[in-house]
């Protein structure tokens, strides 16, 4: 099998799964679950194989396919793996089977529709990462909306309708402005004498005037910032997370939130470098605000899902900080942090789902003393908590450390050039690490230790299925923490290219700046 075909399969397998499920009788839930699980496993195996085959140090796309779709507009169905998306595709593929396995005991109504939606969202997420054509990207980007809307709305908690409409209306507003910007961008390219094309590679070479860049960046950036979400556009996230079923939260935290940061990485910053550099102080401050405010809000929550929801805002603030540092180490750290957050947040949401299934409450005050009752669960929980804090040897450390290192590198370099705006935010970002330790340890202390309370008295420990899911996640967390060299090598070329694309605007303005 050729590699390009394997990549096609990675994309289309979930969609095929959606239609295969149609044929399965609804009366046999076991078949529906088993089929979904093994299809996801097959997809992950393909992802892992492609990851292993992915050649580091080679610029550009690998395993690419390009088929004309709407030829008269220059739209090509173009997908491929590159340093930007290789780790994220692997993460999405890895979480797929775990998401399905995690829902075995939690979801029992409308099983077929549920798995169909999981497949659809998997398809849309992989497609968004792989797309190398702006039109295709936008189509996949928007397609993600509908399965998530249904997932929260059908299988969610009490205030699910409110939460799901808030989620959709927030994200759709960003998308509609992005659509305007997409159309404008492509028309501007045509006016400048280029052939009609939506290909990223062509759009990256446009060199639009700075004032146009600013408008377009505002539209793209707003859409991405809502998805990340960055403070102050984050208010949809806690509602969506709290009301979503465990599966929805896991997908949301695991992959969907990375769409925003991936958007900035792949499109937002490189397409509009002049606007990015002009707005860099603002983005920097918003990233730091996300880190600190997210952490402070997480510190005072009584709902265990909300703690993780707000911690996500804080962790994704680091990703944004790493990207805007425009320092090679920071950018690499941001990519690793995306994956790390995907693993830890997905794991923590799965674990919260596991106790919720048993105790039916999300009140932090209702829990306590789990360490004595359910030791295996508590060990796993503690490992994921520490990974989330960023303890060395875990993936969180690799990500956060590299991001902060990059941020200080960049701030110091700017300081040497006589620009001091970046120093204060970089220092503030470090306080986020302390705050992170504070809220996660407060959570773990109240949750795992202390007196045992009534609702948890009959709690049972992890069963084999749950233990296997968590073991896989924890293994991945340590893999990224102990052996980050290999994944970093695979993303390095892309990180360099990203940096060069964004800084190209500065090179014109400031000759003799850092190489």
């Amino acid at each position: 099998m050729s590699d390009a075909l394997a990549l096609q399969l990675v994309l289309w397998l979930p969609l095929a799964g959606m239609f295969v499920l149609w044929a399965v009788p609804a009366s046999s839930p076991g078949t529906v679950r088993g089929l979904s699980f093994w299809l996801m496993v097959a997809q992950f195996v393909l992802c892992a194989w492609l990851y292993a085959r992915f050649e580091p140090g080679v610029p550009g796309l690998q395993f690419a396919t390009r088929v004309p779709w709407i030829e008269s507009w220059g739209v090509y169905f173009s997908i491929g793996l590159d340093g930007y998306n290789v780790l994220l595709v692997l993460l999405t593929g890895f979480l797929g089977p775990l998401v399905v396995a995690g829902s075995f005991s939690a979801i029992d109504k409308e099983l077929k529709l549920f798995h169909a939606m999981v497949f659809l969202i998997q398809f849309a997420m992989i497609g968004t990462f792989l797309a190398q054509d702006l039109f295709v990207f936008y189509v996949f980007w928007e397609t993600m909306l509908i399965p998530m809307f249904l997932m929260i709305g059908i299988w969610g908690g009490e205030r699910r309708i409110y939460a799901t409409l808030k989620f959709v209306l927030y994200t759709a507003f960003g998308s509609i402005l992005m659509l305007a910007a997409v159309i404008y961008l492509v028309l501007a390219a045509q006016r400048a004498g280029h052939a009609a094309s939506f290909a990223f590679a062509d759009l990256l070479r446009l060199g639009l005037p700075p004032d146009v860049q600013l408008w377009l960046f505002a539209a793209f950036g707003l859409s991405f910032a809502i998805k990340v979400p960055m403070v102050p556009l984050h208010t949809w996230l806690p509602d969506a997370h709290v009301e979503a079923p465990t599966t929805g939260s896991v997908i949301l935290a695991g992959v969907l939130l990375k769409m925003g940061t991936y958007g900035f990485l792949k499109l937002g910053f490189p397409l509009f470098p002049a606007a990015t550099l002009q707005l860099a102080p603002l983005i920097l401050w918003l990233s730091v605000a996300s880190i600190v405010i997210g952490a402070c809000l997480a510190l005072v929550q009584d709902d265990i899902k909300k703690i993780i929801a707000y911690s996500s805002i804080s962790h994704l603030g680091y990703v944004m900080l790493g990207l805007i540092s425009l320092d090679l180490i920071g950018i690499q750290g941001a990519i690793v942090q995306m994956v790390s957050h995907g693993l830890t947040a997905a794991g923590l949401f799965l674990m919260i789902g596991m106790v919720y299934e048993r105790c039916h409450t999300r009140e932090l005050a209702a829990y306590g003393g789990l360490a004595k009752l359910v030791p295996l669960y508590s060990v796993a929980f503690m490992i994921l908590t520490l990974a989330s804090i960023g303890l060395p040897t875990t993936s969180g450390f690799t990500g956060e450390f590299l991001v902060l290192l990059g941020a200080f590198n960049a701030a110091w370099a700017l300081h040497l050039q006589g620009q001091d705006f970046a120093l204060a935010p970089a220092v503030l970002a470090v306080t986020g690490v302390v705050l992170g330790a504070l809220y996660m340890l407060r959570f773990a202390a109240k949750f795992l230790f202390g007196p045992t309370r009534a609702p948890v008295a009959r709690l049972t420990d992890l069963n084999r299925r749950e233990a296997a899911i968590l073991a896989a996640l924890i293994a991945a967390v340590f893999w990224l923490g102990l052996f980050p060299a290999e994944p970093l090598r695979k993303t390095e070329t892309a990180a360099r290219e990203f940096r060069q694309l964004v800084l190209s605007a500065r090179a014109d303005a400031l000759p003799g700046s850092r190489p």
């Binding site: 008269s72 397609t143 249904l150 059908i154 309708i161 759709a172």
Partner: protein, 463 residues
Amino acid sequence: MNWSAFVVGMLPEHFLIVGLLLLIVHAIVARGPQGAAAIAGVCVAAAAVAALGLGLGGHVGQPFPGQVSVTPAASFGKALALVLALPVLLLARDDLGDGGPLYPLLVASLYGLALMLSSDSFLTLFLGLELMSLPVYALVLMGLRRESTPEAALKYLVLGGAATATFLMGVSLLYGQQATLDIGIFAAAVGSRDPLALAGATLVLLAFFLKAAVVPFHAWAPDAYEGASVPVTAYMAAIVKAGVLLAALRLFGQAQPSPAMVGLLALLPLASIVWGNLAAMRQPNLRRMMAYSSIAHAGYLFYAFLGAGPGRLQSVLFYLLAYGLMTLLAFAALPPHADDAQRDRLDQLKGLFHRQPFAAIVIGLAMLSLAGIPPLPGFVAKFLIFREVMAAGYTLYAVLGLIGSYLGIYFYLRVIQYMFMSPAAVPAGGQAPVRGVAVAAALMCLLPALAVAIGPGWFLPRL
């Protein structure tokens, strides 16, 4: 008269007139009403195939020089309307049975539409426009099932009359200036700065706005849509609207609107988009909601007229196809109900997915497409329109229009919310499953829509 051009070029019209005559004969001769639907269906299908063939073959001819001429654009327009009419015939068969003068009226209306689309003079255009509209006034009254229906029909008739009067007044102004009834004078007037010509063109345009239900001439639509039976509502929403837009397309030709015209062409459609979407949020039943939705869609469609050039034809045709298919799809999948007034109450749709998954999924797809969410065809259609507006240089109008379309997302999603997220409430009684004929009609809309969604690149260059 040019005989060969007459025979070949007007083939779709011939099939329709043969169908109309057969239906009349059938009504006189046959014992019962059985078979009328079949005659209408075969004739309309034949006409659709003929129109499509003429369009794809690039047939150009002048059956009646100066009055009627056939171009590929006109043939595609006819094919579009006739293809959309087929599911309506099935729906009518399902909802109203074989009885009454329904089919002759529908076919007559389609004949008027076809004539209108290949007219070269205002005389023929007016003939076609009226022939298309008059049967619909009667159709609204067909299958009278509730007290509000006559009022709705009357409202539609009176405002239709007003549109006719406005149209004639505009034409008389244009005629007074140019001393010809050739439709080219409209395109010339649209681009000119002469006040008299502009006044004439404005009046004609306003008549079209009224027929297509553009704000502020939209008030008849919700009442008429609600009062009519479902197939007739579907016919008005999809086909009559398509006819009006296609006629406007023919009138505009390649004209570049003058600045004064741009104001009219941008502001009223924009108001239509915003108000249609806002008002739709508050509607308690699907037919009224779809009426406001169609008001908003009329806005998008007239937006395309801001741009000149071949993109206008392409975007309007594609939009009408996507919009028409999906509107019909929603109506086709709507489960029948013993009480027509109850049939499309949004409360009745609550928990529909648990009772009738197929109907719910299909209506859901229609709503998502109408909301313009990819990968459904409504998205490509909307993309085309706004690309057209932006390419013409009206970036601000395009952005405002897109924000207006954002307002629409909520009420389309609300329908999905009712169908999928509400508990499976026991229906108030009377709701029946969707019947086979209606399923066939739904598939006739769904399959082309999916084909268009997967391969827009194949369709677009051929339009």
